[in-house]
Symmetry: C2
Subunit: 270 residues, 2 copies
Amino acid sequence: MTIFSEGTAVSPLGEGRYRARLTEAFGFETKPGGPVVLNGGYLMAVLMRAAVAESAHAHPISTAVSFLRPGLPGPAEVVVESRKEGRTASMARASLMQNGEALLDALVTTGTLDPDAKPAYLGEPPAPMPAPEDCPPRGRERAKKGFPAHVDMRFDPAAMGWLDGSPTGRPEMRAHVRLEDGDEPDPYVLALAIDALIPVVANAGFPGWSPTVELTWHLRALPAPGWLTVHGTGRMVSEGWCDEDVEVWDAAGNLVAQSRQLARAARTRG
Amino acid sequence: MTIFSEGTAVSPLGEGRYRARLTEAFGFETKPGGPVVLNGGYLMAVLMRAAVAESAHAHPISTAVSFLRPGLPGPAEVVVESRKEGRTASMARASLMQNGEALLDALVTTGTLDPDAKPAYLGEPPAPMPAPEDCPPRGRERAKKGFPAHVDMRFDPAAMGWLDGSPTGRPEMRAHVRLEDGDEPDPYVLALAIDALIPVVANAGFPGWSPTVELTWHLRALPAPGWLTVHGTGRMVSEGWCDEDVEVWDAAGNLVAQSRQLARAARTRG
């Protein structure tokens, strides 16, 4: 069992309740040696496992999440309430709880996707980016634990100049992503990947942490094995609110997931 | 009192419950003389009025909705459950109920926006489109009641060739929108406008009705008086699932709202 599959596993307690144990493996130290705060995509993956376990359908097609409180390593519970059972899609409300408080509230639509589906892609092609071996694994040489140690991210160097004071001026960030432990992409790995990027506003002069307030993402196709490529963009920052869109493409060149989040950002450009 | 303000009004029943009366003024006949099904954006507006009434904040910043069942004219109730009260943002779960069943389940984040905010717009400019007087008010001459009679929509003729068998080939649709009754734009009128377009996939060869399954939208700024301009685009159709993004711009040229929805579409191109 991999760290990710074990760290997102849920066991049924009956009546739509599921027990989970959140692992620090997908967390970040808030300061060296300080408390570990867990990645939002990881928390979504735990919640989605319970929502799908409670459904007659196989896949989480759409997941909308309010992020109420940060999640900490340790015991947690997911509460799932079925709201509609349908032939094509079912809907549920789900909450990830810890110490009696909701960390995440979610609306989850489940359905069953065909692995051999032939999507009609109607949009512009994604921005080209270098292969993973040509993208530096920033910070990984120092990471012995937590998210950077377990999630292999290779950032597009063309959008990383902000590190040296040369942001591109546009809200953008791109990376190849895979799990260190060998998990191949599935809808739960996609949940992690879709919220893994450094905030895109770092490239538009708004530095610092950007906590997610709301994130909605749609599973558009079942992903192929191999690297995932995530493309992040944004449109506007106003009164400390910023939007961020992420598309995830799989190694076969298919658009597999789309998200938009609303997050908090610095109020003024740094 | 206008038809819209009366048709979206809610009165408190205590303990987070609100009474509403859904009006056929924002509905469509499913067939001539047949049952009236209400517009999803209108239903969102009713739900959001109750969510904001229950909050210490003034504006619905983010609203994520699962559309479970169609809404019909007549009595309805909104149930709001506060989940977090914050200085910058508060979160609630809300449901619009009719005859004991949930029509819409929602996650609503409220906050308070500054009407004098100066947004940093970082994206590409919106596609240019003709002024309202140069966009034909399609179908309005025949509409004596329901949504087309109460919502003045002027479609960009460049994206309306699909009506005569000449779709643009891209998922796109654009229109100017205002309420017939004189209501100036506010967050509730934006909820209506953001789900008012003809499905964008009509321009990509997927005809027919496209029921919304999930829609999330963010209020990015308080809108100026005058026409709203809505720009709809999409990326992919697969297994009958399609995405649609809508941006709403106000008469002062500001991006005021962003949405994405996942909807059902025809499985094959017509």
